[in-house]
């Protein structure tokens, strides 16, 4: 089984296909990907689009519930309303994760409302997935700082530090509740991360869906070409993701 832990229902897909995931899923089929954690896109761009896009992601997932796992977002800057949305997507929409993109959404991981969201996610057993690797609010060490405050919540570095902060991601992942998603680092960085990080807390992702391009082919090939021990590769592509996202 291959689980892609970082995908989006992008605005380009909405513009072209509405809420029909058939062509989106064809890309997964073509690459042998079985399941995907599906995040929004519009909901990360504008606070006033957040709820509507969360609902759109839910409707898209309903069309292929056996393959898609919904991951929603909420806006800490929206205060009580944002916290209410976080609780709604967890309790009513069956979130399998909460996604945050601090530099797009414009908040610090020190934001009090964000902290409440992290606590709520932890109480519900829902992992919190981040864009990471980018200052000034999305560095791995900043996210690890939040992870220290909420040891019962799983924090996923959605890009494992990207290209230039992967060593910080590796250090951050020493915390037992910090996970790495291999989606962005170059091949050699992937190899080192797999060799040094906890093998039970690494997953893989493609960022597919932000645009129409097939990013799965490249990113999956990079991971498969990387010098990673076979059994570990299997865990990363499947078993770890199953545990993280609660796939039965």
């Amino acid at each position: 089984m291959i689980v892609d832990c970082h995908t989006h229902w992008g605005m380009a897909w909405t513009a072209r296909d509405g809420e029909n995931p058939a062509r989106w899923l064809e890309t997964l089929d073509g690459r042998g990907v079985d399941k995907a954690a599906l995040m929004g896109h519009a909901n990360l761009v504008r606070v006033d689009w957040c709820q509507a896009d969360n609902d759109r992601v839910a409707r898209v997932v309903e069309k292929a519930p056996e393959r898609l796992l919904p991951v929603y977002t909420a806006w800490p800057q929206a205060g009580a309303q944002g916290l209410g949305e976080a609780r709604r997507v967890i309790e009513k929409l069956g979130a399998r994760g909460l996604k945050f993109h601090p530099w797009l959404q414009g908040f610090s991981t020190a934001d009090p409302c964000f902290r409440e969201m992290c606590a709520a996610a932890g109480e519900a057993g829902v992992p919190v997935i981040f864009h990471d690797g980018t200052p000034c609010y999305s560095l791995p060490e900043q996210i690890a700082g939040a992870a220290r405050r909420f040891p019962a919540t799983k924090f996923v570095l959605g890009h494992a530090g990207l290209l230039w902060s992967w060593r910080s991601a590796l250090e951050a992942a020493r915390l037992p509740n910090v996970w790495l998603c291999l989606c962005g680092p170059h091949m050699r960085a992937m190899e080192i991360l797999c060799r040094r990080a906890d093998p039970g807390r690494i997953v893989w992702g493609s960022d597919f869906g932000f645009g129409l391009a097939d990013t799965i082919g490249y990113r999956l090939s990079v991971f498969k070409e990387a010098n990673v021990e076979g059994a570990l590769r299997g865990r990363i592509l499947g078993e770890n993701a199953r545990r993280l996202l609660g796939i039965q």
């Binding site: 980018t134 290209l163 230039w164 170059h186 490249y218 990079v222």
Partner: protein
């Protein structure tokens, strides 16, 4: 060389240190497999930051052993001041054909006047400057554009096209000056092809950043993604023209 487009890899790191483990022999084997004719070889990070001469000498030596395949780049850390200028002149005098600057590794802001003296030398010696970009704060596409404006006689190769999070700056910044080029490594072939559509084939330069990436795989992916009509320029033609300003390779 046959009649097909000459393929030149714009950036490979030669040496063994931390995440680098590429020898000249291994590199040439990979080039053979990928049908890459030549490759620029640059020193490992440690020799970009410190021990510049050691790294430069390794590149010069490798290129002497493989004169038809490897093209030596050199680097100096601008913080060394007059010593950096001296080492740059020496390395170019001994055959280096490109100056590599990595502000993030070398510890300065890309557009800081600290680097101006070595950029002036690059211009006088007619060697292009490969500047790593994408590292927040220290080296961004717009800093490359600013330098290209200040030094219109220097060709700036924007390494990695600002990947990752400066992708939305790279195209516009490259478009502001004729002497700014976009390099593909780390920018992902599927995304780089989109940049080329906007900036034109004349500004694209292919590179693998081996061994951090697999050279053969990257070139295979580039072939699939770069439009055929652009291939000869992007795969080597543009870079050959820049390198040729100093004379025949």
């Amino acid at each position: 060389m046959n009649s097909r487009a000459e393929m030149i890899d714009a950036y490979c790191v030669l040496g063994v240190d931390r995440e680098y483990d590429l020898t000249a022999g291994t590199l040439v084997e990979a080039m053979d497999e990928a049908e890459v004719d030549r490759a620029i070889v640059a020193p490992v990070d440690r020799s970009l930051a410190v021990m510049n001469r050691e790294g430069n000498d390794l590149m010069l030596s490798a290129a002497r052993e493989h004169p038809r395949r490897l093209i030596p780049a050199c680097s100096v850390n601008p913080w060394y001041g007059a010593a950096a200028e001296s080492e740059l002149r020496r390395a170019i005098g001994e055959g280096a054909r490109m100056l590599v600057l990595h502000p993030w590794v070398q510890g300065y802001l890309a557009s800081d006047e600290l680097a101006f003296p070595v950029l002036e030398i690059a211009g006088l010696e007619r060697v292009p400057v490969y500047m790593h970009t994408g590292q927040p704060g220290s080296s961004t596409p717009w800093q490359a554009a600013d330098l290209a404006t200040r030094f219109p006689g220097v060709d700036f190769i924007m390494g990695h096209s600002g990947a990752t999070d400066f992708w939305n700056d790279a195209v516009e910044a490259a478009g502001t000056r004729e002497n700014v080029y976009l390099e593909s490594s780390l920018a992902r072939p599927f995304q780089f092809a989109g940049y080329l559509e906007k900036v034109g084939a004349a500004k694209g330069i292919a590179g693998s950043y081996a061994p951090l990436n697999d050279l053969v795989f990257e070139w295979t992916q580039l072939r699939e993604c770069v439009p055929a009509a652009m291939w000869s320029q992007v795969a080597g033609g543009n870079l050959a023209a820049l390198l040729g300003k100093r004379g025949a390779l």
